[in-house]
């Protein structure tokens, strides 16, 4: 078999391609890298500038507005507990990384999802790429990310974006496609433009599903923080990674628990935000 078919050097081709990209677009990647680094670190500085108790109360208030009182109380106590354990700054670094990646994932993912829902060809092209993004082991694209963006928080953000974007895109497409056909027909029959149909009917009705996608993206992004720490992203992930490599089981659990608390807070808040503000219940 090996003799019949000469082995094609795929690996070499990819290496050459990446070298070429780094050489050609080095300055572009440098600029992007500086921007992302500035965003993440700026957010950390902004949050660290406030006393921890003030920020915790602020988050609790946001939780109250977007969801319920119970979740607000959990947010306040959970954050204060993390502060008590001494991981406040690490938590802020992780939060900043997660929020930055999720915002980027949404800014790219939601419009892509909407586009895919309108154009079957676009959807056909997007779907295999999404499969690739979700199943390709993260370490594989972490390596080229280092070539493009150096060690630090930026390759962590890039890896998180790649890993967390698919659910947003998929659920945006799904939500829009699930809008009943007779409602689409009604919008058409009254002479709506495509834009009017999307903005006035499809997106509002798809909102709960889109929010479920946002929620999934946040969770996946959180699950990437330990991996991101391997390329030098600071934060709770880094603490976990260090504890594990130094066989400090207790510290590992402490930091792991802190991540779980942040995850629960973000999950509950986004879940409720998706359900709330739905004028008429969808029957």
């Amino acid at each position: 078999m090996n003799k019949l078919l000469p082995r094609l050097p795929f690996a070499d081709w990819i290496d050459t391609g990446i070298d070429w990209l780094v050489n050609q677009f080095g300055s572009v990647f440098d600029g992007l890298s500086a921007f992302l680094k500035g965003t993440v670190e700026g957010a950390v500085d902004l949050m660290a500038w406030m006393p921890s108790i003030v920020l915790a109360v602020l988050f609790a208030l946001v939780a109250w507005v977007l969801s319920t009182k119970r979740i607000a109380i959990f947010t306040l106590l959970g954050l204060l507990f993390i502060d008590y354990l001494g991981y406040w700054h690490s938590m802020l670094q992780m939060l900043s990384l997660v929020i930055t990646s999720v915002v980027i994932a949404l800014v790219i993912g939601i419009p892509l999802g909407i586009w895919g829902s309108q154009q079957p060809t676009v959807k056909k092209m997007i779907n295999p790429i999404l499969d690739l993004m979700q199943t390709m082991p993260a370490f594989v694209y972490l390596l080229p990310a280092i070539f493009f963006f150096n060690i630090g928080v930026v390759p962590g953000v890039v890896a998180s974006v790649i890993f967390s974007m698919p659910p947003t895109i998929r659920l945006t497409m799904l939500g829009i496609e699930q809008v009943p056909k007779d409602l689409i027909e009604a919008t058409e029959a009254f002479g709506s433009t495509t834009w009017q149909r999307l903005v006035k009917v499809q997106i509002p009705l798809a909102k709960p599903t889109i929010m479920a996608g946002v929620n999934q993206s946040i969770m996946l992004s959180l699950s990437m923080v330990v991996i991101a720490s391997m390329v030098g992203a600071p934060g709770l992930g880094e603490e976990v990674y260090r504890a594990v490599t130094q066989l400090k089981t207790g510290v590992g659990f402490e930091t792991g628990l802190s991540i779980v608390i942040v995850a629960i807070i973000l999950d509950r808040i986004t879940q409720h935000a998706g359900k709330k503000k739905q004028g008429g219940r969808v029957s």
Binding site: F190, G279, G280
Partner: protein
């Protein structure tokens, strides 16, 4: 006929819809007169509608009726191109719909055609008022104006006061009123109603039919109504097109469809119709034998003898009904020298020509003399005898008048009017 040509609202000419890939070949086969099943076998394409041609006139209720799968919903969706026709021409007010660009088509949909859907298709995230405003909103009409129009439209369908509710807070019948209000708010010329009342329970459905007829009477819109329910079609349709396997089998008034089905399919379709709810007194009445009141009892008696009947209706010179006399009373009158007027029975059973047969059963079965059919000025138009009523219910055509045959059958009918 010329007048009708002038107020033609919608023209449909040889319109076909073929679903599937090999549509050109299928269209060719259609032209050769192949059936739906044959084309499916030969090309793998499904014929939704085949060569439908008809006109809809301004202000009429045109019902397209057929069983599910007969292509009626597909046909109606081609009028506003929710489904693109594969072949044929569709014109609204003489304007070609099929070759319009998107912009022109949107305008027609916004201004000329309103649509009401089987499952209401209300937007669940909008209030009743916002739903009703939708058609105006997308035309960019100012908020205050569209609110006024939408409220007026809701008032028309009897939903004033429900503006701030959401669709799922309303019953099915009320939801469909919103659907109707939403379509009316745009003030379209043509209303397409796709099985609009089929999802409602029978009592609500009948109410909605009545209200639709009332609205139609008040607003005079052209309505194209799709249904699979023959009773509904007969009730509301000015004209009915019957569809089968994508083709139109017969077009006519409800009466034409019932009384002269064009083929076996239509015949089978209409055989279960409750004729007593469709036929009216006008359909089964016979020419009345009468005597003018000033002719006197002897003439009346002679007429009754000649015709072998036991009573006769008495009219004045203007053919206005005065009453009836029996043979027995007339004999007594000739003996005592009394006038016809003195033995006249004034309390005779009467009905209008528009009364349906169900309303007549009771009186016809108990009255000793035939029932008189009079118009609003009390002119005697005809009489109803028991035999004709029963014969008509049995579907026997010889007892049922068409507008045309009324006069033709007159001489023959004379002998039949006798009664014991």
């Amino acid at each position: 006929m010329e007048e009708k040509e002038n107020n033609r609202k919608l023209e449909v000419r040889d319109v076909s819809k073929i679903f599937g890939k090999n549509s050109k070949r299928a269209a060719q086969l259609l032209n050769e007169g192949k059936s739906k099943a044959e084309i499916l076998k030969l090309t793998g394409t499904t014929v939704g509608v085949k060569k439908a041609s008809f006109d809809v006139y301004d202000g009429e209720i045109f019902v397209i009726m057929g069983l599910s799968g007969s292509g009626k919903s597909t046909l109606v969706r081609m009028f506003n191109r929710l489904i693109e026709p594969s072949a044929g021409a569709i014109r609204i007010d003489g304007e070609d719909i099929v070759h319009m660009n998107q912009e022109q088509l949107r305008n027609v949909r916004r201004k000329k055609i309103g649509m009401v859907f089987q499952n209401f298709a209300l937007f669940p995230h909008k209030t009743i008022l916002e739903n009703t405003e939708y058609g105006l909103e997308i035309q960019g009409i100012a908020k205050a104006e569209r609110k006024t129009k939408a409220k007026e439209s809701l008032r028309l369908v009897g939903l004033a006061g429900y503006e701030e509710q959401y669709p799922n807070q309303l019953s099915g019948g009320m939801q469909q009123r919103v659907g109707l209000a939403r379509a009316l708010a745009n003030d379209p010329d043509i209303l397409l109603m796709d099985e609009a009342f089929s999802a409602l329970d029978p009592l609500i459905r009948k109410d909605m039919q009545d209200e639709l007829l009332q609205l139609h009477h008040d607003m005079g819109k052209t309505i194209i109504f799709i249904t699979h329910d023959l009773d509904e079609a007969l009730r509301i349709g000015d004209r009915i097109a019957l569809m089968k396997d994508g083709g139109i089998v017969q077009i006519g008034t409800p009466e034409e469809i019932l009384m002269s089905p064009s083929n076996e399919y239509v015949e089978r379709f209409v055989e279960d119709v409750d004729l007593s709810k469709v036929l009216t007194a006008g359909h089964i009445m016979k020419k009345a034998d009468t005597v003018q009141v000033d002719r006197g009892p002897r003439v009346a008696l002679r007429l009754m003898k000649q015709l072998r009947i036991s009573s006769i209706y008495v009219v004045d010179k203007g053919n206005r009904l005065l009453g009836a006399v029996t043979a027995q009373d007339t004999v007594a009158a000739t003996e005592s020298g009394a006038s016809l007027e003195e033995v006249l029975i004034k309390d005779v059973p009467t009905t209008s020509p528009d009364a349906v047969l169900t309303e007549l059963f009771d009186e016809v079965s108990t009255t000793p003399i035939p029932m008189a059919v009079v118009d609003e000025r009390n002119h005697l138009e005809g009489i109803i005898i028991r035999g004709a009523l029963i014969g008509a219910l049995a579907g026997d055509g010889q007892f049922i008048n068409n507008e045309r045959t009324m006069e033709e059958t007159e001489p023959a009918a004379k002998g039949v009017t006798g009664h014991e």
